[in-house]
């Protein structure tokens, strides 16, 4: 059950600095009484969650358990934290499950749930129809605005619409809507080959290999938090924003979900139950919280 399908159209212009969490986050519901042992993967009461642990602010690795970080089961001495971890904890607390976080490469997340090695991936994956042919997805657990990230000294730093970005050198991550359908909407771009990962993309921007990159708001915010030489260009709500054929197509790429094994509707439903208690503002507040606890270095 996807509760909120609220559009981004009415959202306020870009917030370049994380606002203080004024939004009230509802307390965790107590469903520990429900019998979940019939859910595939949870016979043992442990929710095994896969994520990269290298995709701030959704998930990252830190050296201690501060701010409620969870040990990474396959990396002794390392702890995972971030928005995904916070969501995962919320889900587990609700049902009284134990949380096991496994770090793995982005590429392997899908086969890992397909094979049952992991019960769910909470890794900032967007809920495209193509992807959902292979796995079932719960959520959304976040609505990620598409933004452009550039440098302060760039000629594009003051762009007010995608039309102002014309003629720039740019890139984005491989296999994303950002690369495949957003950037091509800008005229006369020198679209370079897609980047390997988010850090690699940021690095290309920092080294001047590209003028700007296209990504989602959290990633951009996290990057700005680390490098104050970067600026976010958020056109959402304006006429100068990236266009999509349909509102469904936009939603597909903006909705971030949790993948589970194909056919494991019980788990998906159980997760959706937890997520439905939160609305978009509360998601944003949680995300702000995550960004604020991201380690300095």
């Amino acid at each position: 059950g996807d509760s909120s399908s609220s559009s981004n159209n009415d959202s306020t212009p870009a917030e370049t600095t994380p606002a203080a969490p004024t939004v009230e986050i509802p307390p965790v519901e107590d469903l520990t009484g429900t019998d979940t042992s019939a859910i595939p993967g949870l016979e043992d009461g442990v929710l095994t969650v896969g994520m990269e642990c290298a995709y701030a602010p959704y998930n990252w690795t830190q050296m201690d358990d501060s701010n409620g970080a969870v040990p990474i089961s396959n990396v002794p001495g390392a702890y995972a934290n971030g928005y995904d971890v916070m969501i995962a904890q919320r889900i587990c607390e609700t049902y009284g499950w134990e949380l096991e976080i496994v770090s793995s490469a982005w590429d392997s997340l899908c086969p890992a749930v397909q094979s049952g090695t992991m019960d769910a991936n909470i890794a900032g994956q967007s809920m495209t129809a193509d992807r959902m042919n292979e796995v079932d997805m719960a959520g959304p657990y976040y609505y990620a605005t598409i933004v452009v990230l550039t440098t302060k000294d760039s000629q594009y730093a003051n762009a007010a619409s995608i039309a102002d970005l014309a003629g720039g050198t740019c890139t984005s991550q491989s296999g994303t809507i950002w690369y495949d359908s957003c950037l091509p909407q800008i005229e006369n771009t020198n679209l370079l080959a897609p980047a390997d990962s988010a850090p690699a993309m940021i690095m290309q921007l920092q080294t001047g290999a590209v003028d700007y990159v296209c990504t989602d708001m959290p990633t951009a915010l996290a990057a700005v938090a680390k490098d104050d030489n970067l600026v976010i260009l958020n056109f959402s709500g304006t006429d100068g924003d990236f266009q999509f054929a349909t509102e469904e197509e936009r939603a597909e790429n903006v909705n971030i979900g949790i993948s589970v094994q194909k056919g494991n509707t019980q788990l998906a439903d159980a997760i959706d139950t937890v997520l439905s208690a939160l609305n978009e503002e509360q998601f944003n507040a949680l995300m702000d919280q995550a960004i604020s606890i991201q380690p300095e270095i």
Binding site: G175, D180, P194, M203
Partner: protein, 298 residues
Amino acid sequence: MDKFVKLGQDMVLLWSKYKVMYWAGIWNTLKLAFLATLIGCFIGLLCGVLNTIPYTKKDPLPKRFLLKLLRIIIRIYVEVFRGTPMVLQSVFIYYGLPYFSNNALRFDNIFAAALLIVAINTGAYMAESVRGGIISIDPGQTEGAKAIGMTHFQTMVNVIMPQALRNIMPQIGNNYIINVKDTSVMFIIGFTEFFAQHRYIVGVNNMYFPSATIEMIGYLTLTLIASLILRLVEKLMDGSDSYELAQGDQLVMAAGTYSHPDRGTPFDEVNREYTGEEKRNRIRIGLKNRNGSTRGGR
């Protein structure tokens, strides 16, 4: 079972939708791996030749110094490029150079950058392989060449390298195959080869296993073909196990050009035969030996 059926169906689906991308990836992989291996072999051979220039205590100091320096440089080259991950090298060369030089140095062509990086890496590995190959050649071969006045380079080019090369052919195969696969890290600088296509396609639709199977088959085909060609080259290098005894007239002709005192002297039996001194019903001229492999037997 049905999982395999689904796998097959999905593969057909993927292939029909993305075959242009897969083919483009294969072509890029092949181009880069082949050229890089070729250049790498050349670098490796060059290092092998330069590294083995002999010097003795009697040589003048500058020469000894230069040769020592050369060896040290080659050693550093080999250790540094072999010893660090190609991904990081790529990042430093492609992104780091302009960054740290404030844009004074910049590669404009991704393929050229990728080729450079893969080739110098292959060269570093090949240098070691060539060293092994040279070690395995009987020192008598070098002495034989030196004794007829060949310089170090002539010895290497004409005598040692052809033999060393034959011994390291399996190694060259290994290197090519490693390159076919390792070019995938060039994705970091935006070179889209076969594996990058897989990542892209899976990123779009999460069909990991079908795409991975297509990749496996593609890579296997690429490497198998290379393997077969290399084995063939090895066979060719071994030369035919047969040889033809030279014909009498051919020799008479050649011999006729000179008139040396011993002409026609019965040096040995075969000689005797072709000069016609003895005629037996058993003709042993122009024989072919198609068997008797001395090498493959082990």
